[in-house]
């Protein structure tokens, strides 16, 4: 992994705590990772892992409780003034999970996609606005005349593509895709994923791809981060993490994924995860990211490094 690659995003000790009366929920608990320009970083985890919260906190949709988020070197948690905020909003966009809830049912497709154009004053007049919207519709594989229709007339996959067009309208550099395919049918998932891959190549985009579907995340991502209960447990190249998982939780997660292959299924053995062994045992604040193999990190105490070293070696036999 060449170190000269530019980092577009640096998340440092991000914390997002939610107060509900007297209880505090630690949605994101001290998460740090970097994303390089032009790559797809997959963030994987189950419900309650904090992956969605991480994505939203990075985009400043929630105000982080603590930590820094450096976008192209600038800390976006401390932006001053509307202009700076708007500039960030142009560069960093989001694609949402629920195609049925992420589009305003009362707006036409044109208005939905053009909202960003209007806010940032990117078009001169109505005609240009229309043309931009129609071009975007074509880019995402929909018909130009869909612009005057309403969200409820479209299927889930088509709505998701409208959402992608909306995000693309402001010409961002970085897109957080929050479970963009989870609510879609299998064959439609492939459509949307292929579209996202093509767009990335065409427009030099960087993605933070948040999902719980490990197979799809591995397919699309260059690097993967595994989250559990608000903590980032393992980070590394997608193939590395998938083929040589270090953390017990990662192993358990991978072993639980069903494969479309009856023979593999018949011989697949699920690995149970023992919570409390390397997590939640009171030593969590002594744990930080350690590089066990080049580019492959695990969250552990200094003492546990030896253990993971052995795990890594067991794959190399």
């Amino acid at each position: 992994m060449p170190e000269e690659r530019k980092k577009i995003l640096e998340v440092k000790h991000l914390k997002q705590y939610f107060k509900n009366g007297r209880t505090v929920t630690k949605g994101v608990d001290d998460v740090s990772f970097d994303i390089y320009e032009g790559e797809v970083f997959g963030l994987v985890g189950e419900s309650g892992s904090g992956k969605t919260t991480t994505g939203r906190s990075i985009l400043q949709l929630y105000k982080p409780t603590a930590g820094e988020v450096l976008f192209e070197g600038k800390d976006v948690t401390k932006l001053h003034g509307r202009d700076e905020q708007l500039a960030f909003r142009r560069d960093a966009q989001m694609i949402f999970q629920d195609p049925y809830a992420s589009l305003n049912p009362r707006m036409t497709v044109e208005d939905i996609i053009a909202e960003g154009l209007d806010i940032h004053h990117l078009v001169k007049d109505k005609a240009e606005r229309r043309k931009r919207v129609e071009d975007l519709l074509e880019t995402v594989g929909l018909n130009r005349n869909h612009a005057s229709r309403f969200p409820h007339e479209f299927s889930g996959g088509q709505r998701q593509r409208i959402g992608i067009a909306r995000a693309l309208a402001v010409e961002p550099k970085f897109i957080v895709a929050d479970e963009p395919i989870s609510a879609l049918d299998v064959s439609i998932q492939a459509q949307v994923v292929n579209l996202m891959i093509d767009l990335k190549k065409q427009r030099d985009l960087t993605y933070l791809f948040i999902a719980h579907d490990l197979s799809m995340v591995k397919f699309i991502s260059d690097r993967i981060g595994v989250m559990h209960y608000g903590k980032l447990l393992e980070v590394g190249d997608a193939d590395e993490v998938y083929d040589h998982p270090l953390h017990d939780y990662t192993k358990s997660l991978i072993s639980a994924v069903p494969q479309p292959d009856p023979e593999i299924e018949r011989s697949r053995k699920r690995i149970d995860y023992e919570y409390g062994k390397f997590e939640g045992d009171g030593k969590d604040d002594q744990r930080s990211m350690h590089e066990i193999r080049p580019g492959h990190f695990v969250k552990c105490t200094d003492d546990e490094v030896a253990y993971y070293e052995k795990v890594a070696q067991s794959y190399e036999k």
Binding site: L61, R90, Q93, F96, N104, R106, E115, I119, N143, H146
Partner: protein
Amino acid sequence: MDQDASNVKITPESFEHVEKGDTQSAEHISGPSLSFMQNVWIRFKSNKAAMISAVIIIVMVVIAFGSSFWINNSSLVKSAPQYANLPAKWKGFDWLNGLNGKIKQNGVWTDAYASVPAGKYFVAGTDYLGRSLAQRIIYGTKISLIVAVVAAFFDLAIGITYGIISGWKGGMTDNIMQRIIEIISSIPTLVIVVLMLVVLKPGITSIILALAISSWTTMARQIRAETLSLKNEEYVLAARSLGESTFKIATKHLIPNLSSIIIIQTMYTIPSAIFFEAFLSFIGIGISAPETSLGVLLNEGQKNFQFLPYQMWYPAAVLCVLMIAFNLLGDGLRDAFDPKGQR
């Protein structure tokens, strides 16, 4: 099961490969594009009770306001004692007791128009001062509808804004705003009016002021509840991520999606405002003579109820029809706006 299966012959040509056309045709959506409102209208049309109510209300509005040209204060004040307390008499209805100028006195149908010159008909009879009841009822209905409009206005102006701010801000602001509403709504509106009578004379002003203080609270609560749930919708989050300002979010995203509640709630506020005015006027602290409203008419009619029941029945009937119509309209609109039909 194919209709034409038997007609199609299988030939070697049948197995020729067909080039898949552009994907554009695969994405084609047939059928006209119906906006949300168009869908609502289709559903509303099929509800007969609601449609009839809407028509009735429109007719009443047209008659009440259209009559302003010839029924005004001066014509109402003119009294004609020679025509006092006449029952209804319609041209050509001599055979129907109740519409032929006869009234039951001591169990006997007697002609009350005996001393009235022929050719004089009163559609709803007259009151104790000989004034046409029909004219007074129409004028009274107009007053009631004006009160309705005022109440709706406050609902929209104060209720919606209050509700959106309270719901969107949340936290302490919401807390305080809700407590204020609770205080307002816990004081009976009647008490508010009575308190105002200390300073103001009874009349349309005190009624409007009372409505301004208290009629919008239900709307505010409903809007706040809906705003609380809407603000977490993903499309609102999407608007925020695009950089949309709070005000624009409220106008572009919240209000259109609140429109169902707004319209429906307004339809329910109106009958209670109308009844409120009628009630106040009935007990004498609302509108008073020589001004008239349905409530005033009920008051006057009640005095003669034993012998001249029609003087109370007619205004009562109009009031009931008006209120029922608005309620049915509200029900019909609520069903038509049912969000399940949109998914």
